[in-house]
């Protein structure tokens, strides 16, 4: 009953094209990432992003974020991010684990976007000595944890701060597809062209089974990434099955089609929510003011979602729930 389940795109179904790609990959090829599918990723993403990319597949977003960040900072350095960033509050400390102890240094920000000026002040406030942790990377999430899409100019402003301080800029793109679908831009526009050094490009929430890509732009990858992956136990021996998922998602822009469907579903719900919305809806997540009684009412009708503190809920629309599919929930909300 997909039509009733809005608790997370994490649990959505896998797209038939991905299932077919798994079947098609079921023949012997070299183990780990030496197979033809794994080896094809650099070229495929370089095409998509219109620049040279080094790409490493991985099974989870937490590992993707952690390995990129661990590659960008040394154990005694820090990572600047939004105070409710996924890397800070939902990964059990994985970035600290992978980096050997790097500190996440958090900032507030409207709609989960940190502000370039606040960032500049935060950095200026850190004494340049060995007593204080010196940040070496900035991480932003696109679409953000509150469902907003970073504009290229906003990313550029953050990137400028990063460059001025010699820091790397990472983008957590667990829902990168939804952001790009909303913006209607080239993937390049909100990544390397805006100064992003590496992207965690998520496919799992968007129709894959377990497949994410670490995308390093313009050679910012390098020694250490593959060691971190192996050392973390993430070098699957039959890696071709992860690469196959990614190739299927890229083929004919399935990633974009799926994201557009989810976004359309979210937009339909947003229209029904009207002033209840806590944030603009630009991707596939909605944060909705709703009383406990109303939430109970929706649940009694079979709808499934998370509470988001007192008086609010989070709704997530999955790739297999387009505008038509969400109509029952839209109607139910309108009828509250």
């Amino acid at each position: 009953m997909t039509a009733l389940r809005f608790f997370s795109d994490n649990a959505a179904t896998v797209h038939p094209a991905v299932m077919e790609a798994l079947a098609a990959a079921n023949h012997v090829d070299t183990a780990y990432d030496g197979d033809a599918l794994s080896q094809s990723l650099d070229a495929a993403f370089s095409d998509l992003f219109e620049t040279d990319c080094e790409v490493v597949w991985i099974a989870t977003g937490t590992a993707a974020n952690s390995i990129i960040l661990a590659h960008f900072v040394r154990p005694w350095q820090g990572i600047l991010c939004y105070e409710e960033a996924h890397i800070e509050v939902d990964e059990c400390g994985a970035p600290t684990f992978y980096s050997g102890g790097a500190q996440l240094m958090t900032l507030p920000g409207a709609g989960a976007k940190i502000d370039a000026e606040a960032l500049r002040k935060r950095i200026a406030g850190i004494r340049k000595d060995v007593h204080q942790v010196q940040p070496a990377a900035i991480s932003i999430t696109n679409a953000t944890e509150y469902g907003l899409a970073w504009r290229a100019s906003e990313i550029g402003a953050i990137s400028e701060v990063a460059r001025a301080s010699g820091m790397k800029l990472h983008m957590d793109g667990a829902r990168f597809a939804n952001a790009v679908a909303f913006l209607g831009c080239s993937p390049a526009d909100v990544t390397w062209r805006a100064g992003v050094d590496a992207l965690s490009f998520g496919f799992t929430k968007n129709g894959a089974m377990m497949a994410e890509a670490l995308v390093f732009f313009g050679g910012s990858g390098g020694a250490g990434v593959r060691e971190l992956k192996k050392r973390g136990g993430h070098l699957l021996s039959k890696g071709r099955f992860v690469a196959a998922q990614i190739r299927a998602m890229l083929k004919d822009d399935l990633w974009l089609a799926n994201a557009r469907a989810a976004n359309a579903g979210a937009a339909a719900l947003a229209a029904a929510c009207g002033p209840r919305l806590m944030h603009p809806v630009e991707a596939n997540e909605l944060f909705v003011r709703i009383s406990a009684e109303e939430a109970a009412d929706l649940r009694a009708q079979g709808f499934d979602f998370y509470d988001w503190g007192d008086g609010a809920i989070r709704l997530v629309v999955s790739w297999d729930q387009d505008a038509a599919a969400v109509a029952p929930l839209a109607a139910a909300i309108a009828g509250l």
Copy 2:
């Protein structure tokens, strides 16, 4: 051309029943490991092992070994193992990474089996002070890195040493199925009944796509295991697809049937190799004395395998290569 490829069971095909299980799991269920399939593992393994088991799925054997060992030792402690154990030489330091710095303390051993008496002496030689690393776990591999199956009595002797020193006993069972198939015993006989505290039960080499099980016997799991898994980025959001693979492998003892097929293939090759064999063949790996010219000859016929130092090669038979399937290679070796 499966019949020609003997370089690793790591790269083998996925069994059709596993592919079907993936398709059957393609509906929405709770994310991570809250789904029905994941939740069913404890009971399924408790049945198989005839005792209460706590079971955690994971995508790779390196992660399985590392998380169990990290759970059993503190960062300043050590892990005793064979000097060429997979955890020592083929995991890029993953057990040290996951444990926060534990030291692997290695011993020699014929056929990759450490000896209980040598183990006892090694432990006795460690000063009980804070200057020397104190071991807190022992890890053995079954089938061993040289393709031998540990007998229950041999495991019991190691376990006795572990118990006497208050250490935990871990079994790396990347090819556990092959060992059990060879021994014809109950899985319980060579695990908890012989004193094993936890098993990395491998399915990937034996017909799964990416699926291993951390099996804790008699409640030796506990706080920390799931945190280590999440923190390592191994809590796949659509975890039901890993659990589904494992359930498919357990169904009608597919794991055993696959291992028997691979073992039978290895036995057929062993007969052809005769005195060239460096170790008895008890599982699905063969280590064969062969000149460089002979190796080249086999390769010219299309066979694929790894060199194993000078004058030797390693052959691995996969679940999809039974006695009949390996006939061409057996003939080629006999004809050298």
Copy 3:
């Protein structure tokens, strides 16, 4: 020119009694911490604190805090503390390093004291799952980073929260002597009697050369502490010289006399500062509102201190600067 230097008690002189104790310890005894002086610490502190104590000497406060906290939490857990706590902002991530990755989870608080109710809410807001870091210890600093002394009842309120959540309570006592001197209480009253599990008892700022004590109350120490110390490179081979400093500081309550002198100096300065004070002066630190011009004026008179952001300075009075010694600075401030 001690009378002019107020930038830190970190750089103060060493008390003559400590120098004499070093000379008196200059004979051969067992290495590391097996010597008579090191072995005498448990008893000496048990007397002082009126309860059984396990005591470990260490050369720095950063190491003291880090080892206690690393002992109290596992790598995937968290430590709750004030947002400007020394462990958070001035130790280059040492607690995270020693603990193998534990996360510092910060709270605001007036005068650098976190509030029990805010703490309770913060803990309640953490989902009890593996995605979020679960705190396992609380750390407070006494005297605080802003020079206030925690009252026994305030500590008790924090301790109640710790107990209710099964957490350990650590006290960073870099200036513990100054707090006790101000409160005029027994050291026991603001430690174990109020629910503190372990104290970093600082002596270096208060007249020693390099000597701090990890004090575990009522057996809360145990396996791991000495391993963490050795592993951190902190088990000095001639450890008797650190123990000797501590014994000299305890003798005839020199620690208290020195703290009283520093506090008296701070009180004299406080009287001169009047409404310029940003916080009540309860220990030996003063935070003073002062214009850049006024600060320059004081510096021109030879006084040495740190700026504390815009329009403020920090003054620290050392054990060798009593009320009489600080008269020149008091006069200079009064004359601004």
Copy 4:
């Protein structure tokens, strides 16, 4: 009764000149390592070693070794060393801790010297892939753990292997002074001129209280060293007292005079031991074949030393035990 104690130079007395230097440093100067004494070390060692040196003081040899090695390798890399090297067997895993998980990769070697050819073979045997840990540093100890001095040519041979593989070469010089005193060479000859990148120069065993120097030759230090030191809790606030010890040890070559005295004592004992010696005596340690009855006899006469396995003892002569001072023990051994 210094004349009777031969269990370790770790527990020896502190030289009067060092005690005087501590007294002389007892005035206020900048905290940490900003003081004049700390700042003077680069120049002092550059003079001694006849090349530009970057020097960092530290309180223990374990920390010295660990910080240098952590600076030279990344967490997933390895450190090649002798199988009984102090860093492997006597530091509770500190180098692994500081490096964030680097693996020590050990080799046998006569007299605790690894062999260049064996080293070359060991390195060649490591597959250049992400599954195997790749070494990035080599560590040798001079004088060795069995009391031998590395000759410049021997070091050069090791250095050649290091250079060929792009590795750094570290020297653990806990008893560097004894080696130089024996060889009668310039300190430069057995360090940078022979290809050593960094030296842990020990003073504590040789007359200091707690003082070692990390010496980086020719700019091989750099970003990270001081962060590792602070993060490890080793940046003593009154650091001038450590720097003062080092300066006292360097003054008028006190380090060399002390080492010569200890070596002379050892040589006198060696003459008495004759064929009982297990290794040539080139520094201040002797490994002596002796029966349990004979050992008991010596102990009954008041002599103090460690057993070294069955049928052997270790004798260490300290800086304050010259040839005359060891006469009673020499006589006792001769009389066995």
